[in-house]
Amino acid sequence: MRPAARRGRRRARTSSPPLSATQIRWLGALLVCAQLPQAPHLPLWVAAFGLLLVGLRLALLRRDRARPDAPPARIPSWTLVLFAIAAALAVRASYGYLLGRDPSVAFLYILVGIKFLETRTVRDGSLLVALASFLLVTPFFTSQSPLSALAVLPALLVLGATLDVLARPPGHASERRPPQALARAGALVLQGIPIAALLFVLFPRIGAPLWGVPGETGAQTGLSDTMAPGTISELSLSDAVAFRVDFDAPPPPPVQRYWRGPVLSRFDGQAWSLMPRPGTGNLTPWSAGGVSYEVTLEPHGKPWLFALDLPASLPRPAGDDAPASADAGFAFLARDQQLIARTPVTQVIRYAQRSMLRDAYPQADAEEAREYLRLPLRGNPRTTEFARELRARHAGDRELVGAILAWFRAEAFVYTLTPPLLDRDPVDAFLFDTRRGFCEHYASAFVVMMRAAGIPARVVTGYQGGEVNPRGGYLIVRQSDAHAWAEVIVDGAWQRVDPTGAVAPSRIEIGLSQAVAAGEPVPLFARLDAGWIKNVQLAFDALNHEWRRNVVGFNRDRQRELWRDLSIDRYAGWQIAALAGALALAWAGVTLALAGFAQARRERAQALWGEACLRLERAGLPRMPHEGPIAYAARASRRWPQFAIAFSAIAESYAALHYGPPPARPGEHEALVATLARAVDVLPGAAQLRATAA
């Protein structure tokens, strides 16, 4: 086929004008800006490959421009289709599956690059902008921090500028300097902020998301429903924030900050796991000395909610005034005093909570005690033997507990994040051979000994301590604060016992970094001596907390709360929606009115000029259709020399208004209009002019 014929067919197929080199470069910049925020969340090869595709298109463009006579580089569409299929297979191989959130995002990431390779017309370009804006949303699947929001800002600006450049004829686009286009986009974004803020605050929120994004299992850190040696020490290596707490009063001392989480009662010789029991527990009665606070919980994919030992209320979603009853509400209290939400925590939630700082609560029924005595038939013989021995020596339960704790203190136990591996009979090996362990080792060993000695006991996991951020005065609880302790029935009540406290008291009183030996891999932010880095981090965390509370966590309840503060909550949702719509319309109206005002000023100049022309026409000197203002004024001045100054003033000021550069100083325009108006005033009426001429 001859090239001309082929070109003709191509033109027939795509009526949209072709993209100029500048427009293609803008699109390339937009794609890179949209890809970069997502790149860190992707496998390295995907991140590099997507960027490479965009680079390839720009390189081809460069080649085309270097050889303007050669036909433009084209990659056949069928190649790109094969390419896309290959990319899909590679993503599937990399992730193990394709139909999920993360592989789909990775595929989209590559796909925009492939689409860019065959983007030639302005219509393709608009489609690419839409794809890029969709890609821009995807980093928020993984993180909704202020930094992620900041990371997409450049892309937003470039997106606006690209739309601007796409909307203009190609010749114009190449004249346009990038800073100008960016400034225009920035101005548009700034103008949009009030409307966006208004809608953010006032547009009624729906209680649940419209659609669920399938979460990725295993991606979130947090306490799990089992505990084997090493579970919690692994967690302790993470800097990630578990939750943040705002107290109504100053926070209680570290020793009292036991954040109760999953209670593990079943032991198989190696690991502890949950023992779900029907029914609900009894709340500790609220009285003086209790603490009330608000928890902002990071998503962890499990239903546990955390509260200070012991919860005195059910968690109440922030902003909800209705008293929570036991069977309604979004969480309940299990028999083992554990707060459990009705759905797993997959997004940031905030709830108000009250607790009594007690370390014991009455046993509900005597029946349950037997459940907490079970031990595997085989295993850990030395521990069992040792416990029976102690039992024989100490008659009272309380004495026995004290004796074991004293034994822990006396013997050479080491509290460490890097305990040796224990395979068979881990409790025996730990207690009598290695004697190096983390809190889960101590809690587990302690509970096994208690059960062997005939005292009902169980392991409680959760967090202990936390750090008060001096900026904002709230408490940060990190994964590195994860902890495990024991509960035993003594004198008819569940009593908290923390064997770790016997071995390493500073873990409980100060924190992890004080409790382990120097050189252990304590996470950076769990250290207390990190200096300015720590300060910067705390300041950033304060910002993050506010962001979590007020932007990401701005759900229906927060919105209701804000409406109450603004006292607009007595209106129905639709009324508020109407109000928001009306305000947005009003804002748009103001913007249009300002534009219209400028228009009116221009029109005023036009009207004054028209009036002068009409007057001269009636006086017998019509303006010729092609006559410019200066030429017309000159002709009029020849007819009526006595008004030459007025004619010239009218013509000069009108010409400056109509053909002149935009005003360099504010007020210049108004001054010209005023001059024009005065000069027209000076001009006598048509009849008088006729008379003077005659």
Partner: protein, 320 residues
């Protein structure tokens, strides 16, 4: 270079007025033509004068070059003129033992190409390409022409026998085509009464120099053009192509209308005209003033018919 404040435009206009006054003492009675010639120069364009010999074409070129402080050369085109006679030639130098380039007359800021239609097309196109690209390639080496570079070519419309008239596509390379015409009676009287004009050229003061002219060219290019004026220029272009449907539209224009490049040149010329007139913006009057000179040789049927057509176009297109 951005939009210049009005205060800087006026000095240019004052200097331009001085220059025009000096020129008017040499080329008598042709004020508008002189002004257009200066405008053409400031708009970085080349000038074609179609006229009979003896009306002062050479005088105009020499006077313009002298008063602006630029060097000039004259090439008399003949039927045996070769491109090398215009561009220059490399000659073997025995003493140096190599070729040495002898620059042709084209390496002058102002070049008067007299009776360009007498030379064969090959030589014509050598000159015209140099005008367009402002550089020449000789023996595989590219040499830049001086900046500013301004060609005044003349064409004799009467003696067309044995001549090679410029094809219309080549005419497009001249920004303006003018006719000097006979002087009117009083001007001719003054010419006859005064002495030798050529001798008086030598006494002219140099009122500018090359860098100044380049600066003016830049200022002209940066002069503000309002959307309303662009509307007007577009209306003129459309009317020249017979697109306009208004009353009195010249149908003859449909035969060969103004190209987009002609539109750009029209704007450039209007900008330069406004600068010479001391205005910080371009008005329809400026466009109208240069329209005849810019458009007539680009429209159908030779300069004379084109001039008439341009005039009727101007009258038929109302200001938007």
């Amino acid at each position: 270079m951005t939009v210049r404040p009005a205060s800087q435009v006026v000095p240019v206009a004052q200097r331009a007025a001085l220059i025009l006054r000096e020129l008017a003492r040499i080329v008598v009675g042709k004020d508008d033509t002189l002004r257009l010639a200066l405008t053409c120069m400031i708009a970085r364009g080349h000038l074609l004068i179609e006229d009979i010999p003896g009306v002062g074409k050479s005088t105009l070129a020499q006077a313009l070059a002298t008063v602006l402080g630029l060097g000039h050369a004259r090439i008399q085109f003949t039927s045996d003129l070769l491109p090398a006679d215009v561009l220059g030639v490399s000659i073997y130098d025995e003493r140096a033992g190599g070729f040495r380039f002898h620059a042709g007359p084209i390496f002058h800021p102002v070049v008067l190409a007299d009776e360009i239609n007498r030379a064969p097309p090959k030589t014509q196109s050598a000159l015209l390409e140099a005008m367009e690209e402002r550089q020449v390639s000789i023996d595989g080496q590219t040499r830049k022409l001086p900046d500013p570079f301004f060609v005044i070519a003349t064409q004799n419309p009467v003696e067309q026998i044995g001549a090679y008239p410029l094809p219309e596509s080549q005419l497009d390379r001249f920004l303006m085509a003018l006719e000097l015409g006979y002087p009117d009676a009083s001007a001719e009287r003054e010419l006859l009464a005064g002495g030798d004009r050529r001798a008086r050229i030598a006494e002219l003061p140099a009122l500018a120099d090359a860098p100044t002219l380049v600066e003016w060219q830049r200022e002209a290019a940066a002069l503000h053009v309002a959307p309303a004026l662009l509307d007007y220029v577009q209306a003129l272009l459309a009317a020249s192509r017979g697109h306009a449907s208004g009353p009195g539209t010249a149908d003859a224009g449909a035969r060969r209308g103004l190209s987009p490049r002609a539109g750009l040149m029209l704007l450039n010329a209007a900008r330069a005209w406004a600068l010479v007139g001391g205005r910080p913006m371009v008005l329809p009057e400026d466009v109208q003033a240069v329209f005849g000179a810019v458009a007539s040789h680009r429209l159908a049927g030779g300069a004379r018919a084109g001039a008439l057509l341009a005039h009727s176009l101007l009258r038929s297109v109302p200001l938007p």
